[in-house]
């Protein structure tokens, strides 16, 4: 008996709708996935995708900002939004009886008023958000390593922008960006759980009937590739005088999100650097030599990144880095043995089963897959792909990717430690 049923359609205005329906669910989850993020911005627009995400909660022709927030709360459940390098996502999980009301609200939010007064107030909130992350480990190391690897534009563009780019941003820039990026053909409406699909399509059709009229502004002037965007540096060391620990982030290239090699890649990073039971865990964390040392992979549409993050006492950094580099080198040379691969597969399978239990997580799977890969993958197919990974595949992948040039960034109070590395 199939656990759930996948259905999809495309409306006349280009909006794609995809849903995984499980009538036994207690809740239903809905999300608009907009194919726009920091990689789609120019220097003048740096941070606008995320700023715009905030502005979607600030009211529409039919609702004030207070109405939007109040109605989201009136429908209970969990609702929020996030912005990444490639997507901006608005979502909510509610009881099934609220399907029409939440669709009305989310759809209305996507045609925002974007008033100047709200823009000015929200700019302050964004600047506070940037300041908040400046105080938090790893103090900008991820942003910097991506900037160094991809360059400060495209996938290397900071999602929040910089304090400078946000201060300089104008409402007109945002309006133009919105007009180019929020056409219905650039959006996916995803749903999962106890969803009435026919009702969903009919409601969406009615609510988005006027969306086709959006006229895209002309493209912004191209960036000057010879100049760094304002507020950006590319140095591999970030001095942080108050930091007690050293934070070292290393990035290797990795398979992208449609590459079949992403499964062996995920298992390889798990074997090498999962937060428990991995080779680096036993070498550095179990022994108390580092506070943490973890690896994970992140997949983009046309590129992938394998991150290693080491946090330890600055005095132990040089030695610990050598351990990390030696383990990476050993894996690229020797591959993995069957037992550790089996253990990593079992861990991955259980993780998938557990994270798929909630409709909200299923909805993200459906929306990301449909928007970024144009495909739907059910849970059993994903489990099967993990089960079929062999030690040979991991070894081949390791010898390829782990030998490509890596990029790194270090945050420390005492940058001289770097020269010893």
């Amino acid at each position: 008996m199939p656990m759930s049923d996948f259905r999809q359609t495309t409306l006349a205005n280009g909006l794609r709708i995809a849903a995984e329906i499980d009538p036994r669910g207690y809740s239903a989850s809905f999300g608009y996935f907009v194919r726009t993020g920091s990689r789609d911005e120019t220097d003048l627009e740096a941070g606008v995708s995320h700023f715009l995400e905030h502005m979607m909660f600030k009211g529409t022709a039919r609702r004030t900002a207070a109405d939007v927030n109040r109605e989201l709360d009136e429908l209970g459940g969990n609702s929020n939004a996030y912005t990444s390098e490639e997507q901006t996502v608005y979502y909510a999980t509610v009881l099934p009886k609220y399907q029409d009301r939440i669709l009305d609200l989310l759809s209305d939010m996507l045609r925002p008023s974007l008033l100047q007064s709200d823009f000015d107030t929200e700019r302050k909130v964004i600047l506070e958000e940037i300041a908040k992350y400046e105080d938090q480990p790893p103090f900008g190391a991820f942003e910097r390593v991506l900037e160094r690897h991809f360059g400060p534009r495209g996938l290397g563009r900071r999602v929040l922008g910089t304090a400078e780019s946000i201060r300089d941003m104008t409402r007109q820039t945002m309006l133009d960006y919105f007009s180019r990026r929020y056409a219905p053909s650039n959006l996916v409406l995803a749903a999962a759980g106890n969803v009435d699909f026919d009702g969903l399509v009919a409601t969406a059709e009615r609510l988005t009937a006027g969306w086709g009229g959006l006229i895209p502004a002309s493209p912004p002037p191209p960036d000057d590739a010879n100049r760094l965007p304002v507020g950006i540096e590319l140095d591999g060391i970030i001095p942080s005088p108050d930091a007690n620990q050293a934070y070292w982030v290393r990035m290797n290239p990795s398979p992208h999100l449609s590459d079949p090699n992403r499964y062996p890649a995920r298992l390889m990073t798990s074997i090498l650097g999962d937060d428990t039971g991995s080779r680096l865990f036993w070498e550095l964390v179990d022994t108390g030599r580092a506070e943490s040392c973890t690896m994970w992979s992140q997949e983009f549409m046309d590129a992938g990144a394998m991150f290693t993050m080491l946090v330890c006492d600055p005095d132990d950094l040089a030695e610990n880095r050598e351990v990390v580099e030696a383990e990476i080198e050993r894996l690229s040379r020797e591959g993995v043995d069957d037992d550790e691969l089996k253990q990593a597969i079992n861990k991955a399978l259980a993780g998938c089963i557990m994270s798929n239990e909630r409709p909200s997580n299923r909805m993200f799977g459906v929306g990301n897959g449909w928007q970024l890969r144009g495909e739907y993958t059910d849970l059993d197919t994903v489990l099967d792909r993990y089960r079929k990974v062999t030690a040979d595949q991991v070894a081949k992948l390791a010898s390829d990717y782990l030998n490509r040039p890596a990029t790194d960034t270090l945050v420390t109070a005492s940058p001289e430690a770097m020269s010893e590395g």
Partner: protein
Amino acid sequence: MSTSAATLQQTVDESVRVEQLDNGLTVIAQPMPWLRTAAFAIAVRGGVQAEPDGREGLAGLLCEMAQRGAGPYSSRDVVALQDNLGLDHSAGVSTALASFGAAMPGQSLHEALALYAEIIRRPHLPEDQLDESRLGALHEVRAILDEPTQQVILKLKAMQYGRRDGRATCGNEPGLNAITIDDVRGFFEQRFRPDGAIIGIAGNFDATAAIDQVRELFGDWQGQQIAIPADRGGGPGYEHIQQDSSQTHIGLSFDSVPLADPNYYPMRAGVGILSDGMSSRLFDRVREQRGLCYSVSLSAHSLIDRGAIIGYAGTTPERAQETFDVTLREIEALADGIEPGELERLKVRVQSGLIMEQESSWSRVSSLVSDWYHRGRIVTMRELEQRIESLTVAEIVDYWKQHPPGGYRIVTLGQQPLNVPH
């Protein structure tokens, strides 16, 4: 809202079984056969309040060392088992408890319980690994120095609850450095006892079989808990931590009631109106209307015999004083009145949350263990929903009038101290 109770009645099957073993261990089992997962949590009275003075960090260290080999398993065996069974596991300490738990695919439960019986009852606590555990714990203490928000909250808890009950769960450097293997083993002998211990299980499993298994694994476990005298430490005050940070981090707390208190619900509802959701007063008036900060929040915290309300806001230095003033004003203005709509929204949130708790064995098991520890009984979701449904504006306002916020503990971290009420 008359339909909401009906929804929960219709959708939720709550067959909770509670069994008390002769040795004092309580087993609580709630089957949720519609799930693919199961979860368990085991709590013993081994929290930081039981640590001897000068050994701060001992509870957490024991919790970590217990997993470095137990019964027939080496340290590596434990991890291999956890991974192969697919356990999403955690272990940690609070003021009163040391807890171990995991969520997993349902079919792993049997073997997982057997593994954790070894960890709780027969850990090796190897002397030759004490230094490695200690180093790990010292890393955690130092890591917090890089986390201003955590630093503020830790300091605030110490001011709120006093030297013993307000202890940091990670300990401190002198305490950790003083710990010997005899301290670890002695704390284990004293605190990892069945009397007062709780095992909760929820999810897709057979309750009768699981309870029988627990009886088999833990039935001959012996030992009494040593009662810990009440601590009345903690008092009002203001402390500023000087640091050249981008934001000023503001924490504030004041006395409240514990979970088992009949006044808990009107108190908690008031906190919800101030801070739960995007239409809550603090989010709306501090962030949305004024753009003063990105994060502002208030939450209820409970020990077994005392409770506190704890608030946090982070904002750049030039806006810190205004953020603090507006936040405090909103908290104190709650007793002036509540709109019926504010309470209605809160009720929908609670109801939705309860229904969605049915979708996760882990969140359910956490509630089971917390209920038993704090209240000595299980509050069914239906009972909880009815209690929330019965709340009135008058009851909430009345509570907040009779227990006006005051006696503040205030901590700031940043470039400059603030002007705070005395």
